[in-house]
């Protein structure tokens, strides 16, 4: 295809990915998407990894500026620490996109996997399966931005459905998260054996809850609804008699690809729009079983909406090989 400038000579284009979070499947999948799309474009990708150090992340933006990159993707982080750094980058004439962190800058497109939509899809399924009055346990750790946004939806859904009774709220980020959450969920289940829905809007939480439900022998009485997905989650949802009924997810790899494509559009002088939203997909246990999906790759093949998002795809844009 006829490539717009500067992608007619993509080897000269340098972009940087500045990460806040990196440990875990979601972030690895996101990174692989970024890498795949960067490769398809033929640009030089540099990765800065701040390992959950927000201050360092801001410095890394400066470092990228000093390195003379053309574009920067900011992946997660805190508004307060990234705002100025992002502005400095923009001022230096660098194109910037931000994923899942609001850097409060009109020049910077925000890539989002809509957390509110994620929670909404999962909860709609929960209401569809269990009616609009049930006894719920909720897993939540405040202070984590995506979880806080998912929480907003949960609060709203509870308000709209007075029949939903939340009897327990718990959660921890102690590592390994699934193990610690399993311990808590076991306690919760023995204190509230009448719980029939567990809303665990993060797959690490859901894993833990599922372990607890299995150990308590309550798989047939409790249903788990969550957000996010991975190969291991698919296995877990498909176990015979699994309590994990549905999860809503965007494909992190797709989000990674969209991030790079949006940045590329900016570099080529096009506008991807200020809010670039990657729509989530609802994945139910039934669907996985019916389509016999065993891993993320198959999920992508058999549920096309999950494999590719038709977002930020101008005609000239090369897509990664599948």
């Amino acid at each position: 295809a006829d490539m717009p400038k500067p992608f007619d000579n993509p080897g000269k284009v340098k972009i940087a990915l500045v990460r806040y979070l990196s440990t875990g499947d979601f972030f690895e999948a996101y990174l692989s998407g970024v890498q795949a799309q960067a490769k398809a474009l033929g640009v030089d990708l540099r990765i800065f990894d701040s390992r959950q150090d927000a201050a360092l992340q801001a410095d890394m933006v400066d470092q990228a500026i000093a390195l003379g990159v053309d574009g920067i993707i900011i992946q997660h982080g805190l508004t307060e620490s990234m705002k100025n750094a992002a502005q400095r980058a923009v001022a230096a004439g660098i194109k910037v996109v931000a994923f899942d962190v609001d850097v409060d800058n009109p020049k910077i497109p925000q890539i989002e996997q809509s957390d509110r939509d994620l929670a909404r899809l999962a909860l709609e399924q929960a209401i569809k399966d269990n009616g609009n009055s049930f006894t719920a346990g909720y897993v939540y750790v405040p202070g984590i931005a995506p979880l806080d946004r998912r929480n907003e939806t949960w609060v709203q859904v509870k308000k709209d459905n007075p029949g939903i009774k939340q009897v327990a709220e718990f959660g921890t980020l102690d590592n390994p998260i699934a193990n610690s959450v399993a311990n808590q969920a076991r306690s919760v289940l023995s204190a509230h054996p009448n719980i029939n829905v567990m809303f665990a809007p993060y797959d690490e939480f859901a894993k833990g809850v599922k372990i607890a439900v299995d150990e308590a022998g309550m798989s047939d009485r409790v249903s788990i609804y969550s957000a996010d997905i991975s190969t291991a989650d698919i296995q877990s949802m498909r176990e015979p008699g699994s309590a994990w009924k549905a999860t809503a997810a965007t494909n992190p790899a797709v989000v990674g690809e969209v991030s790079v494509r949006s940045l590329a559009m900016l570099l080529a002088g096009q506008d991807p729009g200020h809010n670039v939203i990657v729509p989530p997909t609802l994945i139910t246990q039934k669907m996985l079983n019916d389509l016999d999906i065993k891993n993320m790759a198959e999920l992508g093949k058999k549920v096309p909406a999950f494999a590719h998002a038709d977002v930020s795809v101008p005609a000239w844009m090369p897509l990664p090989q599948r």
Binding site: S22, D174, P176, N183, S187, I211, T231, A232, I234
Partner: protein, 338 residues
């Protein structure tokens, strides 16, 4: 030459256990279903892994050392067992044996660094910790391991966690009630009794205590100090890797996780053990009680719907109070530096 009245002695000796009994009574009245065999077994299960790690760290404390790498060893074993079964498609037995061997080798390396290279123990095991945290993620580029995952060469992993392996973490044995006691609890009890027997009643345990108290004197009396120190780190490494195996069996997948919380919780259990029965020194019984204590506290608080941060707070507060009580009363401070 004990000084002071027997009353204080009794307070020192049984104060901590009394505190624990009080806690149980409190939760028993406040939280429904706390005082059931089901709940008791569950508490044991929730502390099984930390407890096993803590018993290992106790062995290193006894010889005057400290093992900061146990958390990383456990998560390495978690990843390794998953890798062996899922990617290499090997049996449960192979996976367990390889993990235990890995733990023993890590312990051996720790021990050699400390006794032969004279690297201070905190340093050597801290280095080992970082090393393992990185190493365990390299084969999968930082991703979790589960059946169906795509490998770096594009293939799909076809192996899976064998039933035998999962049983380690999930099988329940009939005891009073049918299907009551999980295997992991039995492992905890067996290992605790084993470590206790070894440290308290055998020649080797006695010599290890001697080394922890005065390595120079022990050496001059003909003890092979180096060998026992290495042994302690190997016990620690092996138990930590076994803890990791149980973790893998419970999770049923190779989750990437830092072992930091495992480390801190086990260290807390082992250190609380100092306060049990007025021992003022590392001891297996105390460690087991310490692990149990933390388990009871967390179970009770969770059942009372306390948010996670109050749990940390209460854990800290109770720990401090219990310790002040024991150490201020006994007034000697024991082997201070843990």
């Amino acid at each position: 030459m004990t000084q002071g009245s027997t009353l204080i002695d009794i307070a020192i000796k049984y104060g901590f256990l009394a505190l624990m009994a009080g806690l149980i009574a409190f939760f028993g009245t406040m939280a429904d279903g706390f005082l059931t065999p089901f709940s008791a077994v569950f508490i044991l299960q929730s502390v099984a892994i930390t407890g096993i790690l803590a018993l290992g760290v106790t062995a290193t404390l006894v010889v005057g050392g400290f093992d900061l790498s146990i958390g990383a060893v456990a998560t390495s074993a978690l990843m390794l067992s998953a890798y062996v079964m899922v990617v290499w498609e090997q049996s449960a037995v192979t996976a367990v044996l390889l993990c235990l061997a890995m733990g023993a080798v890590v312990g051996l390396v720790n021990g050699l660094l400390i006794v032969k290279m004279k690297v201070p123990d905190l340093l050597a095991t801290l280095g080992m910790m970082f090393l393992l945290v990185g190493l365990q993620r390299i084969p999968t580029q930082g991703r979790s391991i589960s059946t169906g995952m795509t490998l770096s060469d594009g293939d799909v992993a076809k192996g899976h966690f064998s039933e035998t392996f999962l049983m380690l973490g999930r099988h329940r044995v009939d005891f009073f009630a049918p299907n009551l006691v999980p295997l992991s609890v039995i492992f905890l009890v067996v290992i605790a009794v084993g470590v206790w027997l070894f440290l308290e009643l055998t020649r080797h345990g006695r010599l290890m205590y001697a080394i922890g108290s005065n390595a120079q004197a022990a050496s001059l009396a003909g003890t092979n100090v180096d060998r026992y120190k290495i042994l302690a780190y190997m016990i620690s490494g092996t138990l930590a890797s076994f803890g990791g195996v149980l973790l893998a069996a419970r999770l049923g997948r190779g989750d990437v996780a830092s072992g930091n919380n495992l480390l801190l919780d086990s260290v807390a259990a082992a250190l609380i053990g100092f306060a049990v029965l007025g021992a003022s020194k590392p001891n297996a019984f105390g460690t087991a009680v310490g692990a149990l204590f933390v388990g009871i506290l967390l179970q009770g608080l969770t059942m009372m719907n306390a948010p996670y941060y109050t749990q940390d707070f209460v854990k800290g507060a109770v720990l401090v109070v219990a310790l002040v009580f024991t150490f201020a009363l006994s007034g000697r401070g024991g082997r201070g530096r843990g």
